[in-house]
Amino acid sequence: MKTNYTIPFIVLTVILLVLFCVNISLGSISISFKTIVSSFFTDTELLSSKEYIIQNYRLPKAITAILVGSGLGISGLLMQTLFRNPLAGPFVLGITSGASLGVALVILGSSIFGGFLATFLLTKWSLVIAASLGSFLVLLLVLIVSSKVRDTMAILIIGLMFGSITAAIVSVLSYFSSAEQLQQYIFWGFGSLGDLDWSEVQVFTVIYTIGIIFSVLSIKGLNTLLLGENYAKSLGLNIKQSRLLIIIATSLLAGTITAFAGPIAFIGLAIPHVTRQVFNTSNHKTLLPAVFLFGAIIMLICDSIAQLPNTDYLLPINAITSLIGAPVVVWLLVRQRKMVF
Protein backbone atom coordinates (compact mmCIF):
# COMPACT_ATOMS: atom_id res chain seq x y z
CA MET A 1 0.00 0.00 0.00
CA LYS A 2 2.57 2.56 1.09
CA THR A 3 6.01 2.62 -0.48
CA ASN A 4 8.61 1.57 2.01
CA TYR A 5 11.62 3.83 2.23
CA THR A 6 13.60 1.84 4.82
CA ILE A 7 16.34 0.83 2.38
CA PRO A 8 17.11 4.32 1.04
CA PHE A 9 17.16 5.59 4.62
CA ILE A 10 19.70 2.94 5.68
CA VAL A 11 21.86 3.52 2.58
CA LEU A 12 21.86 7.30 3.12
CA THR A 13 22.74 6.93 6.80
CA VAL A 14 25.69 4.70 5.91
CA ILE A 15 26.85 7.17 3.23
CA LEU A 16 26.57 9.97 5.78
CA LEU A 17 28.71 8.11 8.31
CA VAL A 18 31.34 7.22 5.70
CA LEU A 19 31.47 10.80 4.41
CA PHE A 20 31.75 12.08 7.96
CA CYS A 21 34.91 9.98 8.45
CA VAL A 22 36.26 10.90 5.00
CA ASN A 23 35.64 14.57 5.69
CA ILE A 24 37.56 14.39 8.95
CA SER A 25 40.51 12.58 7.37
CA LEU A 26 40.88 15.17 4.60
CA GLY A 27 42.71 18.42 5.14
CA SER A 28 45.92 20.32 4.66
CA ILE A 29 47.83 17.47 6.30
CA SER A 30 46.84 13.86 5.92
CA ILE A 31 45.97 12.05 9.09
CA SER A 32 45.68 8.28 9.30
CA PHE A 33 42.45 6.61 10.23
CA LYS A 34 44.08 5.16 13.35
CA THR A 35 44.91 8.62 14.66
CA ILE A 36 41.35 9.75 13.97
CA VAL A 37 39.91 6.92 16.01
CA SER A 38 42.43 7.31 18.81
CA SER A 39 41.76 11.07 18.99
CA PHE A 40 38.16 10.37 19.96
CA PHE A 41 39.30 8.45 23.03
CA THR A 42 42.35 10.42 24.13
CA ASP A 43 42.24 12.73 27.10
CA THR A 44 42.29 16.39 26.07
CA GLU A 45 45.60 17.10 27.83
CA LEU A 46 47.47 14.18 26.28
CA LEU A 47 46.64 14.98 22.63
CA SER A 48 49.30 14.82 19.94
CA SER A 49 49.24 17.70 17.48
CA LYS A 50 47.42 15.63 14.85
CA GLU A 51 44.89 14.48 17.40
CA TYR A 52 44.48 18.09 18.47
CA ILE A 53 43.66 19.07 14.90
CA ILE A 54 41.05 16.38 14.70
CA GLN A 55 39.42 17.13 18.02
CA ASN A 56 39.44 20.89 17.93
CA TYR A 57 39.33 21.74 14.28
CA ARG A 58 38.09 19.01 11.95
CA LEU A 59 35.46 17.46 14.21
CA PRO A 60 33.60 20.70 14.96
CA LYS A 61 33.86 21.59 11.26
CA ALA A 62 32.31 18.28 10.16
CA ILE A 63 29.52 18.64 12.72
CA THR A 64 28.91 22.21 11.54
CA ALA A 65 28.71 20.97 7.95
CA ILE A 66 26.03 18.45 8.93
CA LEU A 67 24.03 21.03 10.87
CA VAL A 68 24.29 23.62 8.09
CA GLY A 69 23.38 21.26 5.24
CA SER A 70 20.48 19.59 6.99
CA GLY A 71 19.18 22.82 8.53
CA LEU A 72 19.18 24.75 5.25
CA GLY A 73 17.59 21.82 3.42
CA ILE A 74 14.79 21.59 5.97
CA SER A 75 14.13 25.32 6.00
CA GLY A 76 13.96 25.20 2.19
CA LEU A 77 11.44 22.36 2.37
CA LEU A 78 9.34 24.29 4.88
CA MET A 79 9.35 27.42 2.71
CA GLN A 80 8.44 25.50 -0.44
CA THR A 81 5.40 23.99 1.22
CA LEU A 82 4.34 27.14 3.08
CA PHE A 83 4.45 29.27 -0.07
CA ARG A 84 3.44 26.35 -2.27
CA ASN A 85 6.21 27.40 -4.61
CA PRO A 86 9.02 25.12 -5.79
CA LEU A 87 11.34 28.12 -6.12
CA ALA A 88 11.06 29.15 -2.51
CA GLY A 89 13.98 28.79 -0.16
CA PRO A 90 15.65 30.79 2.58
CA PHE A 91 17.94 32.41 -0.01
CA VAL A 92 15.32 33.35 -2.61
CA LEU A 93 12.86 34.72 -0.09
CA GLY A 94 15.37 37.14 1.33
CA ILE A 95 15.68 35.48 4.72
CA THR A 96 19.41 35.12 4.17
CA SER A 97 19.55 38.76 3.06
CA GLY A 98 17.85 39.69 6.31
CA ALA A 99 20.49 37.83 8.26
CA SER A 100 23.21 39.50 6.18
CA LEU A 101 21.71 42.89 6.91
CA GLY A 102 21.72 42.14 10.63
CA VAL A 103 25.36 41.07 10.49
CA ALA A 104 26.33 44.03 8.29
CA LEU A 105 24.74 46.44 10.77
CA VAL A 106 26.70 44.87 13.58
CA ILE A 107 30.10 44.55 11.87
CA LEU A 108 30.03 47.69 9.74
CA GLY A 109 27.90 49.73 12.07
CA SER A 110 29.96 49.00 15.17
CA SER A 111 32.18 52.02 14.46
CA ILE A 112 29.13 54.25 14.65
CA PHE A 113 28.30 53.00 18.13
CA GLY A 114 31.96 52.94 19.12
CA GLY A 115 33.70 52.28 22.42
CA PHE A 116 32.59 49.61 24.85
CA LEU A 117 29.47 48.83 22.84
CA ALA A 118 31.63 48.07 19.81
CA THR A 119 33.62 45.43 21.64
CA PHE A 120 30.41 43.83 22.80
CA LEU A 121 28.85 44.06 19.36
CA LEU A 122 31.75 42.28 17.69
CA THR A 123 31.50 39.07 19.69
CA LYS A 124 30.23 36.09 17.80
CA TRP A 125 27.09 36.02 19.92
CA SER A 126 25.96 39.44 18.87
CA LEU A 127 26.39 38.33 15.24
CA VAL A 128 24.20 35.33 15.94
CA ILE A 129 21.49 37.42 17.56
CA ALA A 130 21.64 40.05 14.80
CA ALA A 131 21.44 37.46 12.04
CA SER A 132 18.53 35.63 13.68
CA LEU A 133 16.64 38.86 14.30
CA GLY A 134 17.30 40.00 10.75
CA SER A 135 16.03 36.80 9.19
CA PHE A 136 13.00 36.69 11.48
CA LEU A 137 12.02 40.25 10.61
CA VAL A 138 12.33 39.65 6.87
CA LEU A 139 10.31 36.48 7.06
CA LEU A 140 7.65 38.29 9.05
CA LEU A 141 7.62 41.04 6.43
CA VAL A 142 7.31 38.50 3.62
CA LEU A 143 4.46 36.87 5.51
CA ILE A 144 2.56 40.11 6.10
CA VAL A 145 2.89 40.93 2.42
CA SER A 146 1.86 37.40 1.45
CA SER A 147 -1.36 37.75 3.41
CA LYS A 148 -2.18 40.89 1.39
CA VAL A 149 -1.11 39.74 -2.06
CA ARG A 150 -2.26 36.24 -2.88
CA ASP A 151 0.11 35.89 -5.83
CA THR A 152 3.12 33.84 -4.81
CA MET A 153 5.26 35.24 -7.62
CA ALA A 154 4.84 38.68 -6.05
CA ILE A 155 6.16 37.31 -2.77
CA LEU A 156 9.28 35.98 -4.47
CA ILE A 157 9.86 39.32 -6.18
CA ILE A 158 9.45 41.04 -2.81
CA GLY A 159 12.07 38.66 -1.41
CA LEU A 160 14.44 39.59 -4.23
CA MET A 161 13.70 43.29 -3.72
CA PHE A 162 14.64 42.91 -0.09
CA GLY A 163 17.91 41.39 -1.27
CA SER A 164 18.67 44.53 -3.26
CA ILE A 165 17.68 46.80 -0.38
CA THR A 166 20.09 44.84 1.81
CA ALA A 167 22.85 45.19 -0.76
CA ALA A 168 22.20 48.93 -0.93
CA ILE A 169 22.29 49.41 2.83
CA VAL A 170 25.45 47.32 3.04
CA SER A 171 27.19 49.49 0.42
CA VAL A 172 26.15 52.65 2.26
CA LEU A 173 27.50 51.19 5.51
CA SER A 174 30.71 50.01 3.88
CA TYR A 175 31.34 53.51 2.56
CA PHE A 176 31.63 54.69 6.15
CA SER A 177 33.50 51.74 7.63
CA SER A 178 37.16 50.86 7.91
CA ALA A 179 39.00 48.41 5.65
CA GLU A 180 39.30 45.93 8.49
CA GLN A 181 35.59 45.87 9.14
CA LEU A 182 34.90 45.57 5.45
CA GLN A 183 37.23 42.64 5.19
CA GLN A 184 35.56 40.97 8.16
CA TYR A 185 32.16 41.36 6.53
CA ILE A 186 33.37 40.10 3.14
CA PHE A 187 34.97 37.06 4.74
CA TRP A 188 31.73 36.40 6.59
CA GLY A 189 29.99 36.56 3.21
CA PHE A 190 32.24 33.84 1.77
CA GLY A 191 30.78 31.47 4.27
CA SER A 192 32.86 29.28 6.48
CA LEU A 193 32.26 26.05 8.32
CA GLY A 194 35.58 25.94 10.14
CA ASP A 195 35.51 29.00 12.36
CA LEU A 196 33.59 27.49 15.21
CA ASP A 197 35.08 26.33 18.48
CA TRP A 198 33.31 23.82 20.68
CA SER A 199 31.37 26.34 22.77
CA GLU A 200 29.96 27.86 19.59
CA VAL A 201 29.11 24.46 18.17
CA GLN A 202 27.23 23.76 21.39
CA VAL A 203 25.10 26.88 21.15
CA PHE A 204 24.60 26.26 17.42
CA THR A 205 23.41 22.73 18.15
CA VAL A 206 20.98 23.90 20.83
CA ILE A 207 19.29 26.52 18.61
CA TYR A 208 19.39 24.14 15.65
CA THR A 209 17.67 21.47 17.75
CA ILE A 210 14.92 23.89 18.78
CA GLY A 211 14.44 24.71 15.08
CA ILE A 212 14.22 21.01 14.23
CA ILE A 213 11.70 20.42 17.04
CA PHE A 214 9.51 23.20 15.64
CA SER A 215 9.84 21.65 12.16
CA VAL A 216 8.80 18.24 13.44
CA LEU A 217 5.83 19.81 15.21
CA SER A 218 4.71 21.38 11.92
CA ILE A 219 4.73 18.09 9.97
CA LYS A 220 0.95 17.64 10.14
CA GLY A 221 0.29 21.27 9.29
CA LEU A 222 2.71 21.09 6.35
CA ASN A 223 0.96 18.01 4.98
CA THR A 224 -2.42 19.72 5.29
CA LEU A 225 -1.11 22.86 3.59
CA LEU A 226 -0.31 20.74 0.52
CA LEU A 227 -4.01 21.06 -0.34
CA GLY A 228 -3.91 24.85 -0.21
CA GLU A 229 -5.03 27.15 2.59
CA ASN A 230 -8.78 26.95 2.05
CA TYR A 231 -8.80 23.18 2.18
CA ALA A 232 -6.42 23.21 5.14
CA LYS A 233 -8.83 25.46 7.02
CA SER A 234 -11.76 23.20 6.16
CA LEU A 235 -9.76 20.34 7.70
CA GLY A 236 -9.69 22.19 11.01
CA LEU A 237 -6.09 23.40 10.74
CA ASN A 238 -5.27 26.54 12.68
CA ILE A 239 -3.56 28.29 9.76
CA LYS A 240 -2.14 31.21 11.70
CA GLN A 241 -0.61 28.97 14.34
CA SER A 242 0.88 26.56 11.78
CA ARG A 243 2.27 29.41 9.72
CA LEU A 244 3.90 30.93 12.79
CA LEU A 245 5.37 27.57 13.79
CA ILE A 246 6.84 27.08 10.31
CA ILE A 247 8.20 30.63 10.24
CA ILE A 248 9.82 30.32 13.65
CA ALA A 249 11.40 27.00 12.64
CA THR A 250 12.74 28.46 9.38
CA SER A 251 14.08 31.65 10.88
CA LEU A 252 15.74 29.78 13.75
CA LEU A 253 17.41 27.37 11.32
CA ALA A 254 18.29 29.75 8.49
CA GLY A 255 19.09 32.58 10.87
CA THR A 256 21.56 30.73 13.09
CA ILE A 257 23.14 28.94 10.16
CA THR A 258 23.74 32.23 8.39
CA ALA A 259 25.03 33.72 11.63
CA PHE A 260 27.54 30.95 12.35
CA ALA A 261 28.51 29.88 8.83
CA GLY A 262 27.71 32.87 6.65
CA PRO A 263 25.21 33.09 3.80
CA ILE A 264 25.37 29.66 2.17
CA ALA A 265 23.66 29.74 -1.20
CA PHE A 266 21.50 27.22 -3.06
CA ILE A 267 21.53 24.40 -0.51
CA GLY A 268 18.12 25.38 0.87
CA LEU A 269 16.57 25.50 -2.59
CA ALA A 270 18.27 22.49 -4.17
CA ILE A 271 18.25 19.86 -1.41
CA PRO A 272 14.45 19.37 -1.21
CA HIS A 273 14.33 18.85 -4.98
CA VAL A 274 17.22 16.40 -4.97
CA THR A 275 15.50 14.54 -2.14
CA ARG A 276 12.23 14.28 -4.07
CA GLN A 277 14.08 12.48 -6.87
CA VAL A 278 14.72 9.56 -4.51
CA PHE A 279 11.79 9.88 -2.13
CA ASN A 280 8.88 10.25 -4.48
CA THR A 281 6.38 11.46 -1.90
CA SER A 282 4.90 14.67 -0.57
CA ASN A 283 4.51 13.36 2.96
CA HIS A 284 6.67 15.49 5.24
CA LYS A 285 6.95 12.64 7.71
CA THR A 286 9.22 10.96 5.13
CA LEU A 287 10.62 14.08 3.48
CA LEU A 288 11.87 15.77 6.64
CA PRO A 289 14.35 13.04 7.72
CA ALA A 290 15.27 12.44 4.06
CA VAL A 291 16.07 16.11 3.51
CA PHE A 292 18.10 16.02 6.72
CA LEU A 293 20.26 13.16 5.38
CA PHE A 294 20.66 14.62 1.88
CA GLY A 295 21.49 18.06 3.23
CA ALA A 296 24.14 16.70 5.57
CA ILE A 297 25.66 14.47 2.87
CA ILE A 298 25.84 17.16 0.20
CA MET A 299 27.26 19.72 2.63
CA LEU A 300 30.00 17.27 3.70
CA ILE A 301 30.85 16.69 0.04
CA CYS A 302 30.96 20.44 -0.63
CA ASP A 303 33.18 20.96 2.39
CA SER A 304 35.55 18.18 1.31
CA ILE A 305 35.86 19.82 -2.11
CA ALA A 306 36.38 23.27 -0.59
CA GLN A 307 39.20 21.79 1.46
CA LEU A 308 41.16 20.93 -1.72
CA PRO A 309 42.68 17.77 -0.17
CA ASN A 310 46.38 17.87 0.72
CA THR A 311 46.77 21.53 -0.14
CA ASP A 312 46.85 24.61 2.03
CA TYR A 313 44.04 26.24 0.09
CA LEU A 314 40.55 26.54 1.50
CA LEU A 315 38.02 27.70 -1.06
CA PRO A 316 35.02 29.76 0.09
CA ILE A 317 32.26 27.25 0.84
CA ASN A 318 29.65 29.58 -0.61
CA ALA A 319 31.27 29.37 -4.03
CA ILE A 320 31.29 25.55 -3.91
CA THR A 321 27.62 25.24 -2.94
CA SER A 322 26.64 27.58 -5.77
CA LEU A 323 28.86 25.73 -8.25
CA ILE A 324 27.18 22.47 -7.31
CA GLY A 325 23.70 23.75 -6.44
CA ALA A 326 22.97 25.88 -9.49
CA PRO A 327 23.68 23.15 -12.09
CA VAL A 328 21.59 20.71 -10.03
CA VAL A 329 18.58 23.03 -10.15
CA VAL A 330 19.08 23.57 -13.89
CA TRP A 331 19.43 19.83 -14.45
CA LEU A 332 16.23 19.12 -12.52
CA LEU A 333 14.32 21.74 -14.50
CA VAL A 334 15.54 20.37 -17.82
CA ARG A 335 14.81 16.81 -16.77
CA GLN A 336 11.26 17.30 -15.57
CA ARG A 337 10.38 20.44 -17.56
CA LYS A 338 8.51 21.62 -14.48
CA MET A 339 9.09 21.40 -10.79
CA VAL A 340 6.42 19.56 -8.90
CA PHE A 341 6.45 19.58 -5.17
Binding site: T224, L227, S234, L235, G236, T281
Partner: protein, 264 residues
Protein backbone atom coordinates in the same frame (compact mmCIF):
# COMPACT_ATOMS: atom_id res chain seq x y z
CA UNK B 1 -34.63 5.51 6.18
CA UNK B 2 -38.30 6.20 6.96
CA UNK B 3 -39.48 9.65 6.04
CA UNK B 4 -40.58 10.79 9.50
CA UNK B 5 -37.20 10.53 11.26
CA UNK B 6 -35.28 12.42 8.58
CA UNK B 7 -33.97 15.27 10.63
CA UNK B 8 -32.62 18.62 9.56
CA UNK B 9 -28.84 18.87 9.25
CA UNK B 10 -28.51 22.48 8.16
CA UNK B 11 -30.96 25.32 8.38
CA UNK B 12 -30.86 29.07 8.11
CA UNK B 13 -33.07 31.60 9.85
CA UNK B 14 -33.74 34.96 8.19
CA UNK B 15 -30.26 34.88 6.78
CA UNK B 16 -28.91 37.98 5.06
CA UNK B 17 -25.69 37.48 3.15
CA UNK B 18 -23.25 39.93 1.62
CA UNK B 19 -20.03 41.74 2.22
CA UNK B 20 -19.21 44.08 5.06
CA UNK B 21 -16.67 46.79 4.54
CA UNK B 22 -15.80 49.81 6.64
CA UNK B 23 -18.10 52.09 4.65
CA UNK B 24 -21.20 50.01 4.11
CA UNK B 25 -22.74 46.58 3.91
CA UNK B 26 -23.32 45.20 0.44
CA UNK B 27 -26.33 42.93 0.68
CA UNK B 28 -26.30 40.11 -1.86
CA UNK B 29 -29.46 38.33 -0.74
CA UNK B 30 -31.75 38.47 2.26
CA UNK B 31 -34.49 36.53 4.03
CA UNK B 32 -32.97 33.18 3.18
CA UNK B 33 -34.69 30.37 4.98
CA UNK B 34 -33.58 26.94 3.86
CA UNK B 35 -33.44 23.54 5.53
CA UNK B 36 -31.37 20.59 4.36
CA UNK B 37 -32.46 17.16 5.57
CA UNK B 38 -30.36 14.11 6.27
CA UNK B 39 -29.44 12.02 3.24
CA UNK B 40 -30.65 14.61 0.74
CA UNK B 41 -28.94 15.72 -2.45
CA UNK B 42 -29.54 19.45 -2.78
CA UNK B 43 -28.67 21.52 -5.83
CA UNK B 44 -28.07 25.26 -5.64
CA UNK B 45 -28.71 27.00 -8.95
CA UNK B 46 -28.79 30.58 -10.14
CA UNK B 47 -27.24 32.85 -12.73
CA UNK B 48 -23.72 34.20 -12.61
CA UNK B 49 -23.18 36.85 -9.94
CA UNK B 50 -26.47 36.14 -8.16
CA UNK B 51 -24.65 35.16 -4.95
CA UNK B 52 -24.29 31.39 -5.00
CA UNK B 53 -20.66 31.58 -3.88
CA UNK B 54 -21.48 34.12 -1.19
CA UNK B 55 -24.21 31.83 0.13
CA UNK B 56 -21.86 28.82 0.17
CA UNK B 57 -19.14 30.87 1.84
CA UNK B 58 -21.61 31.93 4.52
CA UNK B 59 -22.84 28.38 5.05
CA UNK B 60 -19.25 27.12 5.42
CA UNK B 61 -18.15 29.87 7.85
CA UNK B 62 -15.69 31.38 5.40
CA UNK B 63 -17.54 34.67 5.83
CA UNK B 64 -20.06 35.69 8.46
CA UNK B 65 -23.69 36.57 7.74
CA UNK B 66 -24.81 40.19 7.85
CA UNK B 67 -27.96 39.17 9.65
CA UNK B 68 -29.65 36.00 10.84
CA UNK B 69 -27.98 32.71 11.61
CA UNK B 70 -26.94 29.36 10.21
CA UNK B 71 -27.49 26.21 12.26
CA UNK B 72 -25.81 22.87 11.70
CA UNK B 73 -27.24 20.01 13.78
CA UNK B 74 -29.20 22.55 15.85
CA UNK B 75 -25.98 24.33 16.78
CA UNK B 76 -25.24 27.86 15.60
CA UNK B 77 -22.45 27.90 13.02
CA UNK B 78 -20.47 30.71 14.61
CA UNK B 79 -20.06 28.72 17.84
CA UNK B 80 -18.27 25.87 16.02
CA UNK B 81 -14.50 25.63 16.47
CA UNK B 82 -12.44 24.96 13.33
CA UNK B 83 -11.84 21.38 14.33
CA UNK B 84 -15.46 20.76 15.31
CA UNK B 85 -16.60 22.14 11.97
CA UNK B 86 -14.06 19.97 10.15
CA UNK B 87 -15.74 16.92 11.69
CA UNK B 88 -19.22 18.12 10.64
CA UNK B 89 -18.71 19.69 7.26
CA UNK B 90 -16.37 18.82 4.39
CA UNK B 91 -15.75 20.81 1.23
CA UNK B 92 -14.95 20.31 -2.41
CA UNK B 93 -13.80 23.65 -3.78
CA UNK B 94 -13.26 24.91 -7.32
CA UNK B 95 -9.66 25.89 -6.63
CA UNK B 96 -7.00 23.39 -7.73
CA UNK B 97 -5.04 21.67 -4.99
CA UNK B 98 -1.60 23.13 -4.39
CA UNK B 99 0.55 20.00 -4.51
CA UNK B 100 -0.15 17.90 -7.56
CA UNK B 101 2.62 15.51 -6.62
CA UNK B 102 0.40 13.84 -4.02
CA UNK B 103 -0.78 10.34 -4.83
CA UNK B 104 -4.51 9.69 -4.88
CA UNK B 105 -4.25 7.66 -1.69
CA UNK B 106 -2.27 10.39 0.11
CA UNK B 107 -4.81 12.98 -0.98
CA UNK B 108 -7.80 10.97 0.23
CA UNK B 109 -5.92 10.17 3.45
CA UNK B 110 -5.55 13.90 4.15
CA UNK B 111 -9.32 13.86 4.74
CA UNK B 112 -8.58 12.10 8.02
CA UNK B 113 -6.50 15.02 9.35
CA UNK B 114 -9.13 16.21 11.89
CA UNK B 115 -9.02 12.80 13.56
CA UNK B 116 -5.31 11.89 13.48
CA UNK B 117 -2.65 12.57 16.13
CA UNK B 118 -0.03 15.33 16.04
CA UNK B 119 2.09 13.80 13.25
CA UNK B 120 -0.95 12.54 11.35
CA UNK B 121 -0.46 8.79 11.79
CA UNK B 122 -3.29 6.74 10.30
CA UNK B 123 -4.94 4.18 12.56
CA UNK B 124 -6.55 0.97 11.28
CA UNK B 125 -9.93 2.67 11.55
CA UNK B 126 -8.64 5.60 9.45
CA UNK B 127 -7.35 3.20 6.79
CA UNK B 128 -10.70 1.41 6.75
CA UNK B 129 -12.59 4.68 6.21
CA UNK B 130 -10.14 5.82 3.51
CA UNK B 131 -10.45 2.56 1.61
CA UNK B 132 -14.23 2.67 1.91
CA UNK B 133 -14.27 6.20 0.47
CA UNK B 134 -12.02 5.02 -2.38
CA UNK B 135 -14.36 2.11 -3.12
CA UNK B 136 -17.50 4.23 -2.95
CA UNK B 137 -16.12 6.60 -5.56
CA UNK B 138 -14.72 3.73 -7.71
CA UNK B 139 -11.19 5.10 -7.84
CA UNK B 140 -9.40 2.00 -6.48
CA UNK B 141 -7.44 1.59 -9.73
CA UNK B 142 -6.11 5.16 -9.45
CA UNK B 143 -4.94 4.75 -5.85
CA UNK B 144 -1.20 4.99 -6.58
CA UNK B 145 -1.38 7.54 -9.39
CA UNK B 146 -0.10 11.07 -8.91
CA UNK B 147 -2.69 13.84 -9.05
CA UNK B 148 -1.05 15.52 -12.06
CA UNK B 149 -1.61 12.31 -14.05
CA UNK B 150 -5.40 12.44 -13.60
CA UNK B 151 -8.06 13.86 -15.91
CA UNK B 152 -10.40 16.53 -14.54
CA UNK B 153 -13.17 13.99 -14.12
CA UNK B 154 -10.95 11.56 -12.22
CA UNK B 155 -9.59 14.36 -10.02
CA UNK B 156 -13.12 15.43 -9.11
CA UNK B 157 -13.92 11.88 -7.99
CA UNK B 158 -10.76 11.87 -5.87
CA UNK B 159 -11.73 15.17 -4.26
CA UNK B 160 -15.17 13.73 -3.46
CA UNK B 161 -13.47 10.67 -1.94
CA UNK B 162 -11.37 12.99 0.23
CA UNK B 163 -14.52 14.74 1.45
CA UNK B 164 -16.09 11.33 2.20
CA UNK B 165 -13.02 10.27 4.18
CA UNK B 166 -13.51 13.34 6.35
CA UNK B 167 -16.64 11.50 7.55
CA UNK B 168 -18.96 14.45 8.01
CA UNK B 169 -22.76 14.77 8.11
CA UNK B 170 -22.66 17.40 5.42
CA UNK B 171 -20.63 17.76 2.22
CA UNK B 172 -20.70 21.02 0.29
CA UNK B 173 -19.36 21.19 -3.27
CA UNK B 174 -18.77 24.40 -5.20
CA UNK B 175 -19.51 23.82 -8.88
CA UNK B 176 -18.28 20.23 -8.98
CA UNK B 177 -19.22 19.87 -12.65
CA UNK B 178 -17.41 22.80 -14.20
CA UNK B 179 -14.62 21.84 -16.62
CA UNK B 180 -16.22 18.44 -17.20
CA UNK B 181 -17.71 17.01 -20.38
CA UNK B 182 -21.40 16.16 -20.57
CA UNK B 183 -20.87 12.51 -19.63
CA UNK B 184 -18.76 13.33 -16.59
CA UNK B 185 -21.15 16.08 -15.46
CA UNK B 186 -23.93 13.51 -15.33
CA UNK B 187 -21.59 10.90 -13.87
CA UNK B 188 -20.45 13.11 -10.97
CA UNK B 189 -23.97 14.26 -10.10
CA UNK B 190 -25.26 10.70 -10.29
CA UNK B 191 -22.42 9.62 -8.01
CA UNK B 192 -23.41 12.35 -5.54
CA UNK B 193 -27.03 11.14 -5.65
CA UNK B 194 -25.90 7.58 -4.92
CA UNK B 195 -23.59 8.69 -2.10
CA UNK B 196 -26.33 10.74 -0.43
CA UNK B 197 -28.63 7.71 -0.56
CA UNK B 198 -26.06 5.09 0.52
CA UNK B 199 -24.23 7.02 3.23
CA UNK B 200 -27.06 9.16 4.60
CA UNK B 201 -24.88 12.25 4.25
CA UNK B 202 -26.44 15.52 3.16
CA UNK B 203 -24.80 16.79 -0.01
CA UNK B 204 -25.20 20.38 -1.19
CA UNK B 205 -23.70 21.49 -4.48
CA UNK B 206 -23.87 24.58 -6.63
CA UNK B 207 -24.12 24.06 -10.36
CA UNK B 208 -25.10 25.51 -13.70
CA UNK B 209 -26.43 22.11 -14.87
CA UNK B 210 -30.02 22.98 -14.06
CA UNK B 211 -31.61 20.27 -16.21
CA UNK B 212 -29.40 17.55 -14.67
CA UNK B 213 -30.06 18.89 -11.18
CA UNK B 214 -33.81 18.80 -11.79
CA UNK B 215 -33.55 15.12 -12.68
CA UNK B 216 -31.27 14.06 -9.83
CA UNK B 217 -31.79 16.27 -6.78
CA UNK B 218 -34.09 15.61 -3.84
CA UNK B 219 -34.53 19.32 -3.41
CA UNK B 220 -33.19 22.48 -4.97
CA UNK B 221 -32.40 26.03 -3.96
CA UNK B 222 -33.08 28.49 -6.76
CA UNK B 223 -31.52 31.94 -6.51
CA UNK B 224 -32.87 34.68 -8.75
CA UNK B 225 -33.48 38.44 -8.68
CA UNK B 226 -36.90 37.73 -7.17
CA UNK B 227 -35.42 35.94 -4.17
CA UNK B 228 -34.55 32.50 -3.03
CA UNK B 229 -36.93 29.56 -3.19
CA UNK B 230 -36.26 26.07 -1.97
CA UNK B 231 -38.39 23.01 -2.68
CA UNK B 232 -38.43 19.71 -4.56
CA UNK B 233 -37.67 20.08 -8.28
CA UNK B 234 -41.26 19.16 -9.28
CA UNK B 235 -42.81 21.75 -7.01
CA UNK B 236 -40.33 24.34 -8.22
CA UNK B 237 -41.31 23.67 -11.83
CA UNK B 238 -44.97 24.05 -10.89
CA UNK B 239 -44.22 27.32 -9.14
CA UNK B 240 -42.40 28.49 -12.26
CA UNK B 241 -39.23 29.20 -10.32
CA UNK B 242 -36.95 28.25 -13.20
CA UNK B 243 -38.58 30.49 -15.80
CA UNK B 244 -37.62 33.55 -13.72
CA UNK B 245 -33.99 32.46 -13.56
CA UNK B 246 -32.82 34.18 -16.74
CA UNK B 247 -34.11 37.10 -18.83
CA UNK B 248 -36.92 35.59 -20.90
CA UNK B 249 -36.03 37.33 -24.13
CA UNK B 250 -33.10 34.94 -24.64
CA UNK B 251 -33.90 31.55 -23.16
CA UNK B 252 -37.12 30.05 -21.93
CA UNK B 253 -37.74 27.16 -19.58
CA UNK B 254 -39.74 24.29 -21.04
CA UNK B 255 -41.77 22.87 -18.16
CA UNK B 256 -42.60 19.66 -20.02
CA UNK B 257 -38.99 18.55 -20.56
CA UNK B 258 -37.47 20.36 -17.58
CA UNK B 259 -34.84 22.04 -19.71
CA UNK B 260 -34.01 25.41 -21.24
CA UNK B 261 -34.45 26.39 -24.88
CA UNK B 262 -32.79 29.22 -26.76
CA UNK B 263 -35.33 31.56 -28.36
CA UNK B 264 -34.98 31.60 -32.10
Amino acid sequence: MPEHIKHTILKTENLTIGYTSKKEDTIVASNITIALKKGELVGLVGGNGIGKSTLLKTLTKVQSPINGAVFINEKQLKTFSNLELAKTLSLVLTEPIAAKNLTVFELVALGRQPYTNWVGNLSDKDLEIINKAIDQTTIADLKHKKCFELSDGQLQKVMIARALAQDTDLIILDEPTSHLDMYHKAYILKLLQKLAKDTGKTILFSSHEIDLAIQLCDSMIVMSEQGIVSDTPCNLIEKGAFSKLFPEDMIVFDEKTGSFRVKK
